[in-house]
Amino acid sequence: MTLRVTSPILIDKTLRNINNNLQQVQELQIQLASGRRVNRLSDDPVAVQQALRFKQDMLENQQYKENITFGANKLDAAINALDRISNLVLGLQDVALDMVTDPYSTSRAVFGNEINQLISEIALNANAKYLGKYLFGGHETLTPPYTINTDSNGNVTSVTRNPLGIDDPAYHTATDGLDVQVNISGSAPFMPNGEGNTGDIFTTLINIRDSILANDKGAVQIALDELDDEFQNIITQQAIAGQRIQQFDHTDKDNDLRSFQSEARFSAAIDLDFAKAITELNYQNFILQAALQVGSKIISPTLLDYI
């Protein structure tokens, strides 16, 4: 059947075509203005889901990075404190060895004071803080982990540790499923077996001081040997902290790589290909022009114009 074409059909069709063209121009305009191919969920639901997944990755990684930076800084601070302590101990070893052979008792008395100073300094470093929190306090981060007790002459008689929480480990999450310890057990570098037991560096230092004052060379020698072991303890803990920092670094690199990939994929999922969009816009504009011109030609004439 041949279609009877009536004027309203012609006008309706022309308007509809122009409107369709305008809609596509508008869609492209929105994309170009936002720089995104996907601006609403329904533009491409699958791409949106992917984009959400990748964005989640980025958001998580951002936090992991913060955790890692913060944790590594804490460990760094602990390493520095232990470094200062080990230097102090090294200096003391040298002087003590000289002192064993020193015939003059006056300088021994001076040395006694020096050791008192040194013990205080080591204890002070064992009470080192990072951002206001004690590094070697375990979970008791607001209470000094070590207390120096002195007699009336100012001699250090003992150094005691906080009985609560000092060895509690604290962790930061470096990535999904990996928690890394960010503190050094408070006892391990200084008295791994408890106050006054083997490995208590403070007791050993007090022994050295007392033995030198008493000029008991044998005892000094034994105590210095012990100090060697205790020095090793400190170095070991430094190494442990170093390993953890390294673990953080490795994880950070992995995270960065994943983050980078997620960013690229996020962009691929919803960002706009500008060259393509602009080409399409030009083409669409061309079609619109054509539709308008053709429309203006066919709408006007009817037979009435010619009678």
Binding site: P45, Q49, L52, Q56, H139
Partner: protein, 563 residues
């Protein structure tokens, strides 16, 4: 004979005039919606029997007919129902789409990620006010986001209710107009020679409008009265319309209903079907999923939070939830998050030394224990702690001024395994049960130390914060197949797909209808070219007839002058 010719000529002129006025009517209505072009049907007059044969007596207008295409019209009415349905659902779904403003930066996904990230920040520095504040702020904004999303979805459902009300009014108004037209058409066409062309156009247009709103079927009886019914309910019968009304369904939502019995109508098509399906299935579905997400968030965060230690411990705490019947066995009581068999530990610490003063495991057997039993258990096993019910039926646990307590075992770090604390609302984090009422427990705002970061009384303890942060990557929803974020992403994908499909349906239905309307217009529409041609044609007919009258007149004149 000449007299006959005179009347033949004038009749022909009259016929041409009638035809011309029909053309005028057509041209005038070229853009009138629902108008079908009309045609004057010319027939020859009854001839006269004469010798040598019959002689014609000219022409007359037998009828003015409407050019119609009932087949296409009925198809249009049917397809219009689908168009209405798709239009309504697309409109409402697109509104929902605007609310869930993903993939932008302000969506729920960001709020969720920031919330879980804040627990990492807390784990990094559990002693700090600032990190506690971040947890509180992000939890607060997450709750607000959920509240406002569920509120906005609800608002769209309310708009849908309003839409139902308006459409029911429209149905009634259209029914009434059809009934009026019925009576007019019936009386015009009582004379079998008359055709109520324009009135019929109007009635058909009304039926088309009606079919966009609701699925209707129509039958015309012998008296030209149109019966309109939807799913067995008569809307127009004869010259009377039968108005419908709205009633409230079990969910408190508005539905179209029969006027007297208030029974909900069966809706099988049109805008009403679109709006009801979208409101009760789609939007309610998103709302349910959102509530599921919020409920699981509350449950999981609280379950961990009640097992944690707060900074500085509690001197006293009052449960948020009231105990309905303290003498009833626990599993007979309706708790939002019901307890199970297990135990919780109360450990008392000295304020100044931080040392443990005493500690007791309180066993909970939900099949035999009552709240009174639990209270007695606490009071017997701990000398420095008293438990009681206050006047409003809330459980109060307190210790003396030199101590504080935690709900953990200091040596093992273990917390509540019975869920009783969560059920009562003690030492939890979120209050509420769904997206609409989720909020941060209100005393946390005033005292950020009540955020439980650790599992020991020490300020640097952060295990619990890490546990809560790790909820982010645990697959806890959809029977253990999705994380919170994945679950939310699936809601958004569902919505996006729904909108996409609705849009595509609407587009294809629009073009189908356009095709049908074109086909209808090609039969019933007015073509100006055609009318112009006819105009000339009848103008010529008129002129020729007038000439004929002139000739007849001159014949008469000849005759008369000869007499």
């Amino acid at each position: 004979m000449p007299f006959e010719s005179l009347s033949l000529g004038t009749q022909a002129m009259r016929a041409a005039q009638s035809a011309l006025s029909v053309i005028g009517h057509n041209i005038a209505n070229v853009n009138t919606e629902g108008y079908s072009r009309q045609r004057a049907e010319l027939v020859t007059n009854i001839p006269l029997d004469k010798f040598p044969g019959q002689i014609g007596t000219g022409v007359r207008v037998d009828n003015v007919m409407r050019i119609k295409d009932d087949f296409t019209r009925i198809q249009i009415e049917k397809e219009n129902q689908l168009l209405g349905e798709f239009e309504a659902s697309t409109g409402f779904l697109e509104e929902v789409e605007q609310i869930l403003d993903e993939p932008q930066e302000t969506g729920l996904q960001n709020a969720l990620a920031e919330f879980f990230n804040s627990w990492h920040t807390l784990a990094n520095a559990p002693e700090d006010f600032s990190s506690r504040n971040i947890v509180f702020e992000t939890a607060n904004s997450l709750s607000n986001k959920l509240n406002s999303l569920s509120g906005q979805l609800n608002e769209i459902q309310n708009q849908a209710d309003e839409y139902v009300r308006i459409k029911v009014d429209e149905i009634n108004s259209i029914s009434e107009r059809i009934a009026t037209l019925n009576s007019r058409i019936s009386s015009v066409e009582a004379n079998p020679d008359q055709h109520a062309n324009d009135l019929r156009d109007q009635r058909e247009l009304l039926v088309k409008e009606l079919s966009k709103i609701i699925d209707v079927r129509t039958y015309e009886d012998n008296n030209k009265l149109l019966l309109v019914e939807t799913q067995g309910l008569v809307l127009v019968s004869g010259t009377r319309s039968n108005p419908i009304t709205t009633s409230t369904n079990a969910q408190g939502r508005l539905v179209p209903a029969e006027r007297i019995t208030l029974d909900p109508l069966v809706i099988r098509g049109g805008e009403l079907k679109g709006v009801l399906d979208t409101r009760d299935v789609k939007i309610q579905g998103y709302l349910n999923q959102l509530n599921d997400l919020a409920g699981q968030l509350i449950d999981n965060v609280n379950a961990l939070h009640t097992q944690g230690a707060v900074l500085g411990g509690y001197d006293s705490i009052t449960s948020r939830n009231q105990v309905a019947n303290p003498a009833a066995v626990l599993n007979t009581q309706n708790y939002d998050y019901p307890p199970q068999n297990g135990n919780f530990t109360l450990t008392v610490y000295n304020d100044s030394t931080g040392a443990v003063v005493e500690s007791a495991d309180i066993a909970v057997d939900v099949t035999t224990d009552t709240i009174n039993d639990i209270i007695a258990d606490i009071n017997t096993n701990l000398t420095t702690v008293t438990a009681s019910l206050d006047s409003s039926g809330r459980l109060v646990i307190q210790t003396n001024s030199s101590n504080h307590f935690q709900f953990i075992d200091e040596t093992t770090g273990a917390g509540d395994t019975s869920g009783l604390l969560q059920a009562l609302g003690i030492n939890d984090f979120f209050e509420g049960t769904n997206a609409q009422n989720i909020g941060v427990r209100n005393d946390i705002a005033a005292n950020l130390n009540l955020i439980a970061a650790g599992n020991s009384d020490s300020p640097g303890s952060n295990e619990n914060a890490l546990e809560i942060a790790s909820l982010q990557v645990n697959k806890l929803l959809s029977n253990g197949t999705a994380t919170f974020e994945e679950f939310y992403a699936s809601i958004t994908t569902d919505l996006g797909t729904d909108v996409l499909i609705a849009n595509r349906n609407l587009e294809s239905q629009e073009s189908l209808l356009l095709l049908l309307e074109e086909r209808q217009a090609s039969t019933t529409g007015v073509s100006l070219d055609e009318e112009a041609a006819n105009l000339i044609f009848y103008q010529r007919m008129f002129q020729a007839s007038a000439k004929f009258v002139q000739v007849a007149d001159s014949l008469l004149e000849t005759l008369i002058n000869r007499i």
